[in-house]
């Protein structure tokens, strides 16, 4: 009784003091900041958080939109288990990996060599920049359509191959060449962008380093290996990670050029997901496909960061 009264009177007597360090105070005085990020945050909740969580849930169901009640059909890890025995999925996974690891080395090496050459001082720099960059600003839908023409039996590619004594074929209709053709096109289309990333890094290397190396008596090769190359490590890692993430999600090119065929020869994981979700209406299963790919991408990115030993530098 006494305690209670004491407590009561003491709160009454204490003057109201604003604690400038209290969390609530700092939130209230920063109302404007929350207002400023609110539009993004609302869109983020609606179009990222909700769908990511919901598709995680769907991956554990046998949801088929034609039978709405299946949304409650909890099947546990069955979808994920089925992936391992789904031949079509495994083929599309293989295609995706072949595409990714078959294009990245070429794209990166071409990009680096072209950047080094352009950086050495070519004439008409602008012309080169525009030329190499045009595929990057052009929609993949346009480029893919264009290459359907170039890849037909009598098209440009066949003519070039014939010129060098090869046998023309319908490149996109052939089990053995369809995926290779799409990969070739992707290298062609992507090189310019990565070249530009290399070029902007090359131009940021301080000129004094080269001068110092010259004073120390280094020749061209030594300068390249001791000055240029170390400066390119960070950007090369970035390019590897970015290109891996992009390549594992390849969709537009096979969708337009081959529709995934012939057979499943050019079906990629995202294309497979798209077909399962929106043609076969197996949305639960397709969600599991999506999550598996997402996990694969995360693992790949982490491995690259670890192997190349830049895990700390990336957040600088």
């Amino acid at each position: 009784m006494e305690m209670k009264a004491l407590g009561h009177s003491s709160t009454l007597k204490r003057p109201r003091r604003i604690d400038h360090n209290s969390l609530w105070y700092r939130i209230r005085t920063n109302k404007a900041a929350y207002l400023f990020i609110a539009p993004w945050f609302i869109l983020f909740l609606a179009f990222t958080v909700y769908p990511v969580i919901f598709s995680g849930y769907l991956g554990f169901t046998s949801y088929n939109p034609l039978k709405p009640s299946t949304i409650n059909d909890f099947v546990g890890l069955q979808n994920y288990r089925n992936l391992f025995t789904d031949r079509d999925f495994l083929i599309s996974l293989r295609n995706t990996l072949v595409f990714t690891f078959g294009t990245i080395p070429f794209t990166t090496v071409f990009a680096l060599l072209l950047a080094l050459a352009v950086n050495r001082g070519v004439k008409c720099k602008t012309l080169f920049r525009v030329g190499f960059f045009l595929p990057t600003v052009t929609s993949l839908a346009v480029i893919s359509t264009l290459f359907v023409l170039l890849c037909n039996q009598y098209g440009l590619i066949s003519q070039i191959v014939q010129f060098f004594g090869g046998k023309p074929t319908n490149w996109l209709n052939n089990q053995h060449t369809a995926l290779l053709s799409i990969m070739g096109m992707s290298v062609w289309a992507a090189t310019g962008y990565y070249m530009l990333l290399y070029l902007s890094t090359l131009q940021s290397i301080p000129q004094e380093l080269y001068e110092a190396a010259t004073v120390d008596g280094a020749n061209g090769f030594q300068k390249f290996f001791s000055v240029t190359l170390p400066h390119l490590r960070h950007i090369t890692l970035y390019i590897f990670v970015l290109n891996t993430i992009n390549s594992l999600q390849v969709f537009t090119e096979p969708q337009i050029m081959t529709g995934g065929g012939p057979g499943y020869a050019t079906t990629t994981v995202v294309l497979y997901l798209y077909k399962r979700a929106f043609s076969s209406q197996m949305m639960g299963y397709a969600s599991a496909v999506g999550y598996s790919l997402f996990i694969l991408i995360l693992i790949m990115a982490l491995i690259q960061l670890k192997v190349l030993g830049f895990d700390r530098r990336i957040d600088e």
Binding site: R120, F133, S139, L140, Q255, A277
Partner: protein, 279 residues
């Protein structure tokens, strides 16, 4: 000695240019070929091979495409969607970018990590739930389905944050002393300074949305709502082997971005590389 050095320098860059020229041709030739194919007929587009100048040029393919397909409508749809998304990003991205750059508020780091992580969420992961939602909201075949999700793109916010961080704090302090409100500081002091960065944002957002394919493909099923890319894709499904007409569609779809690129290449290049060269 000095002069000889400069001469050899000059000679070297000519040699380099000469070596690189074939690569430039490989990059540009397909585009020229695409445009020239639009003037060929259905047979010669295949048989004329390397020819850039058609033997019997005609505008027939253009006439057929434009008279059988509502291409003007596709063009308009692409334009409406792209411009609306650009407008949204011009408002919302600087707002959030400013808060992340210049304000310190509880949870800022948390929100910023969320922002960065959104950039890593692949689009296919969200397609199915959003498809369900759009059907429930009756948003299929509407502009808002193509516009609203992209109004405050994380990449634009990040771009703005990087730029605003470089603006001096003193101008904000001075405005505060003059009694400007929080919103007044943003609208009257910060926003007018964003010019160069805004140009990068506008052009890159425009290119991204104009070129997007998967999203409009999935959420528009009626031809009067198709964007150029979806129209281009569906034309291929319907006239698979008629390449001169397909190239007309491709050329019309690529024309606006090519023009934008040629005029604003400086901004485009700095925008696409800005994420990479920081740090």
């Amino acid at each position: 000695m000095e002069k000889a050095n400069r001469l050899s320098e000059n000679a070297r860059s000519y040699i380099l240019t000469f070596i690189l020229l074939p690569f430039l041709v490989i990059m540009i030739y397909p585009f020229l070929y695409m445009v020239s194919s639009t003037f060929k007929d259905q047979v010669s587009v295949i048989t004329e091979g390397f020819n850039l100048i058609p033997k019997n040029p005609s505008l027939k393919a253009y006439r057929i495409v434009l008279s059988t397909q509502p291409f003007l409508k596709y063009f308009l749809n692409s334009l409406i969607v792209s411009l609306a998304v650009v407008a949204g990003n011009m408002v919302f991205s600087p707002m959030a970018g400013y808060a992340f750059a210049k304000k310190s508020f509880p949870g800022k780091k948390f929100f910023f990590i969320l922002l960065l992580s959104t950039m890593m969420i692949p689009v296919y992961l969200i397609l199915i739930p959003i498809y369900r939602t759009f059907i429930a909201l009756e948003w299929m075949n509407t502009y808002q389905a193509l516009i609203i999700p992209f109004l405050a793109a994380p990449i634009s916010i990040f771009l703005m944050r990087q730029y605003i961080m470089g603006l001096p704090d003193e101008i904000i302090q001075a405005a505060k002393i003059d009694g400007a409100s929080e919103i007044g500081i943003f609208v009257r002091i910060i926003y007018p300074l964003l010019g160069p960065c805004m140009a990068v944002l506008v052009i890159n957002t425009f290119l991204n949305i104009w070129n997007s394919f998967l999203w409009p493909l999935l959420f528009t099923t009626e031809s009067n709502m198709w964007t150029l890319m979806v129209g281009l894709y569906n034309y291929g499904g319907y006239k698979q082997q008629v390449f001169n007409e397909r190239m007309v569609c491709a050329t019309l779809a690529a024309l606006p971005t090519t023009i934008v690129f040629l005029f604003f290449q400086k901004y485009i290049i700095s925008g696409l590389t800005s994420g990479a060269i920081k740090g």
